[in-house]
Structures are given as structure tokens and as C-alpha cells.
Amino acid sequence: MTPLRWTLLIVLLVSSMLIGVMFGTLRLGMHDVINGLLGHASEMNNSVVRTLRLPRVLLSALVGAGLGAAGAALQGATRNRLAEPYLLGVSGGAAVGAVLAVAFHAPHALIPVIGFAGALGAVALTLLVARAAGGHGDARTVLMAGVVVGAFANAAIMVALANADAMAVRGALWWMMGSASDASWTQVATLAAFVAVGLAILLAMGRAIDVLALGDDTAAGLGVNVARVSLTVYVAGALLAAGTVSAAGLVGFVGLLVPHIVRLAGARTHRSIIGSAALAGAALVVFADLIARIAMPPAELPLGAVTAIIGVPFFLALLRRLA
């Protein structure tokens, strides 16, 4: 990645965030937005900009950054182009948590918390299964364990949903499809802490991931403790993904797609892949959330549906290129 490309990426992110704050159902001029940001607009415009749009745009950016970075790191550590942040059972576990919360009539505000707990539980289960089957050091074993735990989670979801009422099911489904619509400053602050720590760990592991990507034996020959580095990357990536899930539900495709995009743009070493995937992921999710807000007024689309609609054709093009 050349300095010019890094600059372009930052410009892309900042401008997507500005556009994200400017557009919405309510029409605000540039003037209103700037005054709103400064708190000098009408009471209504102030709150639209500062209470609704800004936290939402920031939360989307953090979700995208977390998913992009986690996807990039996990793809590298597992040497698998199709690895993604939800790989280790995060999505299944989070969904089980959300659905159980619904089935047992937990307050709606608890869904993210229980979803997060479910994600952590599933990640722990995946790593335990992988360990029982042969060790964290072997990427293939970990991937298989993730698949097994995911299948188990699907079964659990179906059992839990059997008796839930229709509105609650719709609520749980909406949450599973991902949305930044409930963004608050508290959530922004929590996720920012998560992303800062997770990103720092993954960036620190960047060089080790480069080595790991060459294969376990080669990595061992270069002084990498394969099992420990893999486990660190898996746990940091999964926690990052779980953090985004608790903030905005399951937002698919971002973590899978963005690392490919930044690699095509010239990122080669994992430190630059992870860093640029964080920036590009942030821009992508901010943009996707804008579409989710304005594409079908007065309804709002689930964020995960928008990222998938953007992602699928993009990914097909990528596959053709790689094939």
C-alpha cells in the first residue's frame, strides 16, 4: 500500500461519514448539518445530527472496522480466503443468544448482551472442539469445529423459535439481519473500546500472521509459536466480531469481502491488510447503512441485507478473478 492509497482510503472513509451524516429521511442542507454538529442549529436539527445520525454513522464505521480487521486477520491466520469474522461460531452463538432472549421474554435491551454472551460461548465451544480434535494450531481443525458449532447453533435456534410469538420472532430476525438503527453514544463508546483493543492486538500480530500464512512448519521455523499466535488471533478476531454483533447484529459479507478488496488494492503484508481492511470496512458499512436508511422510505432495510446485496455481485466478480 502506497501512502497515496492510504490517503485515498482515509478520504473515502471521511467522505462516506460526512455523506452519512448529511443524508437521511429528513432533508438537511450542508449548512444545517454543520450547525447541527456544532450545536448551533434548531433544536430539532441539532438532535437529528447529534443524537440520531452521528452516533449511527460512527457505530456503522466501528462495526465495519471491526469486521474488516477481524476478517483480514482470520483469513491470514487460517490461510483461507473464505474465512470471515463469524467463522468461529460467533454468528450462530449470537443468534442462539438473541433467540433465547426472545423465547424467554427477556427485555429487548438485553438481546445484544445475551447475543454477545452467546457468541463468546460458541467461540469457546469451537476452540474446545478444535482442541479435542487435534489442536488450535491446525487451521483446518478450527474451521471444521466452527462449522460443527454453527450447525448445532442452527438446531438450537429452531428449537427456541418453536414457541415464540410472531412479533418477537420478527424482532429477533431483524436483529440477526443486522442494523445500526438503535445506535446510541453509549454503544459507540463501548464498541470503540472493543475495536481499539481488538485492532491493536491484530495489528500487533500482523507480522506473525504473515509468517503463519506461509504454513505451520515454516512459521515454526521462523520462531512463531503456532498454537499460541493462532489462538490469540482467533480470540481477538472473534471478540471483535462479537463486539460488533452486540452493537449492530449480524452484518454479513463485510468481513469476507473487504480483505479481498484491500488486497486487490495492493495491501500485501497483514499489518497493512488489517489496517486498510478496517478503514475500507468502516467506509463500506457507513455507506451500506445510508442505503439501508434511504432506499425504501419510510421502511428501513436491515443492514446485513444491504451489505449482502452489495457484497454478492462483488464477490462473484472476485471469484472469477481468482479462479
Partner: protein, 280 residues
């Protein structure tokens, strides 16, 4: 009107047609009824056949005595074996596509099964008359329908000339699902002298964005007590004028379960909240 005309015609041919298009013979008065739709359950009790109900859904809470009836689980994708185990001679289902197979299986087992779609207030009158025929008490059915219709009419006339405040009635907050034009709750709002801000959306419970809500700027929010407390304390929701100014109307949320015999009383209670001091 047309439908009830059909129904009364059906009485003479000793069969009625349900909303799956199946025909159900009228004649033998049922002794054991399973009702797997909360609204038909309420209607069955209202037309005086409650004592014959031997099975209900997990969600039935009206009328109060229904809790003594065995709970047979969900109303969609019902457990057919659990229903058959009650040896019913009449089963009432909600006529959604997911229930078509269950209806077929019950009929195949020789059980009279009628499926009704009760989504609008007009469905209430139509289905109540049909259920009256099935239970053999058309008089009780007529009385029920007339009483509800009279109440609705009374509420409508009392509020017709009053200013109609802009009403937002959420079914759910995350995502925000509003009462839409396709819901009978929209009819309740209109009857009670309010203007549903999402009335033009055809779906019964459309998902709407928060900014859209802000743009439509409701005068009042109709909700339950627990939701009110939550919304009133939420910074984002406080950007809504109605929330800031505390313009909440607290209703019994079970009004929204279905257009059953309580729909008239429900409209009346909403009207009293929307127009305090109005006389009916």
C-alpha cells in the same frame, strides 16, 4: 355485507365456506371445540359456546376462564396429534398458508375443520356469524355482532367532528414496527378519532425508520406502560416531540391481539384517551 349474505345463503344449503375455500357442513352442533386462534376463541365464548372449548393456543388469555382449557401449543403449524388427542368435533384454525396442511390432515382424520382469516374489523362480523351457524346459535352471534357494531358506531359519531390528533402506535421498538393501514388497529385509531401517521402503508405492521417517525412528528404515542418508561428515558426517542412532552396514551396492549368481541370496547377506551371528556 356481501359475505354475510353468502353466509346466510349457506345456512339453507347446510354448509358454509371457510377462508381456505373448504366447505363445512352445518347441522350437528359441536360438543368439543378446539380453537387455535385467539380471536376465534374469544368469539366462541362470546356466542355462548365457551363451555364446549376443549383446546386452545398457548397465547389465549381471553376470556379469563380460557386458562382452564388445555393448551395445545402454537396456532401456526399446530400440533395435529395434540389436537386429535382432544377428540374434537370442530377445529378452528387461522387461515394462513402455513396452516393449510394441518387443515387437510384434520379433515382427513374426519374432524370438521374451519379456517378463518380475521384481520380486519369487518372480518369479525363475518366470522362471528359463520361461527354462530357452526355452533348452532345464530341469534347469539347476531347479538354479539350488533353490540360491537353499535359501540363502534357510537364511538365514531362521538369523535367524528373532533380534531384528529396524529397518532403513532408502535407494535415493536427495535426495529420500529408501526400499526399500518392494513391492520384493524388502524381502524380502531380512526374510529376513536385519531389519525394514524402510517395509515397509508398497506402492510399491517410495517417497519419504519426513526427519521421518518421524526418527520411525521406524531402528537401522541399509544403504548403500554413498560414501553412508555423505556421510551421516555431514551435519548434517541426523546428527539420526538411527543416523547419529550410526555404525550403517551397508555392502553391495554391486548387490544391489538385481534379484532374480537372486545374491539368495540377497545375503540371506546382509545377514544377516551384521545379525547378526554368526550361523551358517548
Amino acid at each position: 355485507m356481501l359475505l354475510s349474505a353468502c353466509a346466510s345463503e349457506a345456512k339453507h344449503s347446510a354448509a358454509i365456506t371457510d377462508d381456505f375455500g373448504d366447505s363445512i357442513s352445518v347441522g350437528a352442533v359441536p360438543a368439543r371445540i378446539v380453537s387455535l386462534n385467539t380471536t376465534t376463541t374469544e368469539i366462541i365464548y362470546a356466542v355462548g359456546a365457551g363451555a364446549k372449548v376443549v383446546g386452545r393456543t398457548a397465547y389465549d388469555i381471553f376470556p379469563a376462564e380460557v386458562k382452564n382449557v388445555p393448551d395445545l401449543g402454537p396456532g401456526l403449524h399446530p400440533n395435529v396429534e395434540a389436537v386429535l388427542a382432544m377428540h374434537p368435533d370442530l377445529v378452528l384454525l387461522y387461515a394462513s398458508e402455513t396452516n393449510r396442511e394441518a387443515a387437510r390432515q384434520l379433515r382427513a382424520a374426519g374432524v370438521r375443520t374451519a379456517s378463518f382469516r380475521i384481520d380486519r374489523i369487518s372480518d369479525f362480523a363475518r366470522v362471528t356469524r359463520l361461527l354462530g351457524q357452526l355452533t348452532g346459535d345464530t341469534l347469539a352471534a347476531s347479538v354479539t355482532v350488533d353490540s360491537v357494531n353499535a359501540t363502534l358506531q357510537r364511538v365514531r359519531s362521538a369523535t367524528a367532528t373532533l380534531p384528529h390528533p396524529k397518532v403513532f402506535w408502535p407494535f415493536w421498538e427495535s426495529p420500529i414496527m408501526s400499526v399500518g393501514g392494513g391492520s384493524f388497529v388502524n381502524e380502531i385509531i380512526e374510529t376513536a378519532g385519531g389519525k394514524n401517521i402510517f395509515a397509508e402503508l398497506p402492510a399491517p405492521s410495517p417497519t419504519v425508520s426513526f427519521e421518518e417517525l421524526l418527520r411525521r412528528d406524531p402528537d401522541v404515542i399509544v403504548t403500554g406502560a413498560r414501553t412508555q418508561a423505556k421510551l421516555a428515558g431514551d435519548t434517541r426517542w426523546r428527539t420526538l416531540r411527543a416523547v419529550r412532552e410526555g404525550h403517551f396514551l397508555i392502553v391495554d396492549s391486548t387490544i391489538a391481539t385481534g379484532p374480537g368481541p372486545r374491539v368495540g370496547a377497545g375503540a371506546e377506551s382509545v377514544a377516551r384517551l384521545l379525547h378526554p371528556g368526550v361523551r358517548f
